[in-house]
């Protein structure tokens, strides 16, 4: 290979999706603010020393160390994106958790945490990543409970970029009190025709809601997601059971498995 061709190759730009994913590392984060997000979750604003920014949809790992040296590490999706070293998390409290009860109930502004990230280049979205792959394809986001966190980051990045790709979010949540980023999501839906929000309540609906509370079923899924004929890219995040049920129905409804990106957080 000649020097000239090496130079040409060296200047080849990587794809937008990869360019948007900075190198990960361990960082010290200072809690800048914490507030209740839902009755069972808190929103944390972290100032992360040396944070290189992150793409929409990425996660980070939080490591807690006990006085005796015992450590526990857990993954949390990031609700924010872009070059800022201010990172937003929204953490759901697991009843028997080792890390989440501390993050939800105990942590205070000024506390410091060890974080590892940004992590993951698979469950991400960048404004120009689909344009480079041919015709623009609409994007369907499907969230179960706290699985909305990375999908909120994606929807917000879509709005900030003033991207006109049609987006639709289906968000399954127990009750109106359990909606994460409730005001922000309503504002995104009100601000742009390119973002549509569909809520499904599984335990209790608001007064006057047209459908009774209940899980998302196959027919409701078919009615509320962009049809397979429009070839949407689909992102699904939630508990393992939710994600696997939704993904299998999507395939039955004709969606291409390669066009469905999933992230399971375990749970029940």
């Amino acid at each position: 290979m000649s020097d000239a061709s090496i130079a040409e190759r060296a200047t080849d730009a990587p794809s937008a999706a990869l360019r948007a994913v900075p190198r990960s590392g361990w960082h010290v984060a200072t809690v800048a603010a914490v507030r209740r997000e839902t009755p069972n979750a808190s929103r944390l604003e972290l100032d992360v020393d040396g944070w290189p920014g992150n793409a929409a949809g990425q996660h980070l790992d939080v490591r807690l160390t006990a006085p005796d040296g015992y450590t526990a590490t857990r993954s949390y999706s990031i609700a924010s994106s872009g070059p800022s070293s201010r990172v937003t998390l929204a953490v759901d409290k697991l009843p028997d958790g080792e890390v989440s009860p501390y993050l939800v109930d105990e942590v205070r502004a000024g506390d410091m945490l060890e974080v590892h990230g940004p992590l993951g280049a698979f469950f991400v979205w960048a404004p120009d990543q689909h344009r480079s792959l041919g015709p623009v394809r609409p994007v369907q986001l499907i969230a179960g409970g706290s699985g909305v966190v990375p999908l909120f980051a994606i929807a917000h990045a879509h709005a900030v970029a003033e991207d006109l790709t049609p987006f639709r979010m289906l968000y399954s949540v127990r009750t109106p009190d359990d909606i994460y980023f409730a005001d922000e999501l309503q504002a995104l839906a009100a601000a742009s025709d390119a973002f549509r929000l569909d809520l499904v309540y599984t335990r209790r609906t608001p007064d006057g809601w047209p459908t009774p509370a209940g899980r998302v079923m196959r027919d409701a899924l078919a009615a509320a997601v962009i049809p397979a004929a429009d070839h949407p890219l689909v992102y699904v995040c939630g508990s393992t059971g939710f994600v696997e049920q939704v993904a299998s129905w999507l395939i039955e409804l004709g969606h291409d498995a390669r066009s469905i990106r999933t992230e399971r957080y375990g749970g029940t």
Binding site: R19, H116, L119, A121, F122, T240, R264, G267, T268
Partner: protein, 85 residues
């Protein structure tokens, strides 16, 4: 314990690899399926992490970590494709 998926490998394996392994694609030795590691099933427990093929459930990889070292096995995969950045 409920399994998760290959997205959860991003942090643990970033300790040892300079690229994001979750967007690397690998061929399962069991059934021949080629998929991103993010699409694999991941079982985490006290002793370590087992990565299984989402199509045939064969073991693709294992990860065991101790304080001062780690053991990483890729016993069930071949032909790993890594995007250059």
């Amino acid at each position: 314990m409920q399994h998760v998926d290959g997205n959860a490998l991003a942090g643990p394996l970033a300790e040892f690899f300079t690229f994001d392994v979750t967007i690397a694609t690998a061929r399962c030795n069991g059934c021949g399926t080629v998929a991103e590691l993010a699409r694999a099933m991941v079982y985490q427990s006290g002793p370590g992490t087992v990565v299984r093929c989402s199509s045939c459930d064969a073991v693709l990889a294992t990860l065991v970590e101790a304080d001062d070292r780690a053991w990483i096995g890729f016993s069930g995969m071949s032909a790993i494709e890594v995007p250059r950045v």
